[in-house]
Subunit: 283 residues, 2 copies
């Protein structure tokens, strides 16, 4: 497995593979890898001959009061995991490789970026869209894999790729959960033991909503109440938002008929956790 | 010469050429072609095996009170000129080919977009950058040619391509002028006979500045005054801006030492004309 630090080496490597007719898969990450990330690698390997994983904690997607400086970093440990998983190259650029002096372009996606996390993290999705466009330009993948845990991010990237006619096929990989249902996240490492004990109420709440929907419930207010009934009893959890939206456009729904998405953000102490579930009329 | 209306056909055509090892050149235009555009085609043919010209009057780069509705259109005449010039394909998409329903992505370039035309045409360069990113995605060119008459546009595109690591090499082609010096523009068709008679004062003014610089003048105020001395006597011409800027960043200069750009926008009656000249300490 190659660990690549420069743009030139990364692009050349990918172009050599492409010239040989190999399909290049790409998994962009911010490192601090867990089983969720590794499942993205597996999804890439399923359809691709070579897999590149980027590890770059992108400053432009963090807000002023967010956790950029304390975001967990462990390049050596990450590389060990990725090598075992059959990754061909890790692209771990410094900040000035991605954003060289004079960099001044931003990619914004309206609509899908509004509401949900977009409301509470202004500029976040612009940072995500821009860095992904840059990474696609450097890595030149045929396919890129994104996790469904970041449902709005996935929608933003899909929209951007479609609008700008970028090359990579976007592959969505299902949420990976701990044994007790908590969605895997690098930020779970921030949780105190008691916060960690209470956090699975989030996925319990989402599962409850899924069952309510399967039983015919179509009213977003009732579905939201179902979620809250699991989470609100937990004294360390504080709901930031709970919404039922169209699963592609992220637009809020007044009545839930077809496939939809319930997306939530919940603070466990000072740690912000997101989760979501696809809800459908039939299993 | 193929006239292509759909995205799918355009991309397939380009990919077939690319697979055969042919270098694809691209000239984006808004039609109403003149000798300036044809020189861009020639520049593309110099280094490319196939040349695609797009003809698309892009609504998003026009301001509310600008000339979108009356912008000159002549697809048949344009195609005749391009066929004679050895163009392989004309891409003439409808609006909803470029911007299908749900389109919601914008590309913005800060810095180089500020000042000059950016100050008087808010949103213009965002429209230009976005449509060029989309067209590059559809046409998949190895190289794209832009005219130096739109100097700030060229700087914006160069910056975007560099930042987003887009594939095409950007080629700049010199300004083509009428026999009396007026820079070729589709908008020259709007000029009344008397406006047309006065308009060459713009290029005379720029040439005067070039001579002042060659004679050692380094003060932007004196250079601007040189330009104005030619243009202000013309009763139908009204200067919108005249600036001396860095030729790459478009940043205003306090003292002109190295290669620089004088860029101007001048109204001839109701018609807005732009022009510019590279000024250097030595010929």
């Amino acid at each position: 497995m190659r660990v690549v630090r420069t743009e030139g080496e990364m692009t050349r490597l990918s172009l050599v593979w492409r010239d040989r007719g190999l399909r290049v898969g790409f998994v962009p990450t911010m490192g601090a890898l867990h089983a969720g990330h590794l499942s993205l690698v597996d999804a890439a390997r399923e359809t691709c001959d070579r897999v590149v994983v980027s590890i770059f904690v992108n400053p432009t997607q963090f807000g002023k009061n967010e956790d950029l400086s304390k975001y967990p970093r462990d390049l050596q440990g990450d590389c060990r995991l990725l090598e075992e998983r059959g990754v061909s190259a890790v692209f771990a650029p410094d900040n000035d490789v991605i954003y060289p002096e004079g960099f001044s372009t931003t990619v914004s996606v309206s609509g899908v970026s509004s509401g949900l996390c977009g409301e509470y993290r202004p500029g976040h999705f612009q940072g995500v869209a821009t860095v992904c466009a840059v990474l696609f330009g450097i890595v030149r993948p045929h396919a890129a894999v994104f996790g469904m845990k970041d449902a709005q991010q996935l929608a933003v990237i899909r929209r951007m790729v479609r609008d700008l006619r970028l090359e990579p096929e976007i592959i969505a990989a299902p949420i990976v959960r701990e044994h007790d249902g908590l969605a895997m996240s690098s930020r779970n490492a921030y949780l105190s033991p008691e916060e960690r004990r209470q956090a699975p109420a989030i996925s319990r709440g989402l599962n409850k909503v899924r069952m309510l929907r399967l039983n015919g419930e179509m009213d977003p207010a009732v579905l939201k109440a179902g979620f809250l009934s699991e989470v609100e009893p937990m004294n360390l959890l504080k709901v930031q938002y709970v919404e039922v939206v169209d699963h592609l456009t992220m637009a809020p729904l007044e009545k839930v008929t077809d496939k939809a998405l319930m997306a939530v953000a919940v603070y466990a102490g000072a740690t912000r956790l997101i989760d979501n579930i696809i809800i459908e009329p039939e299993a």
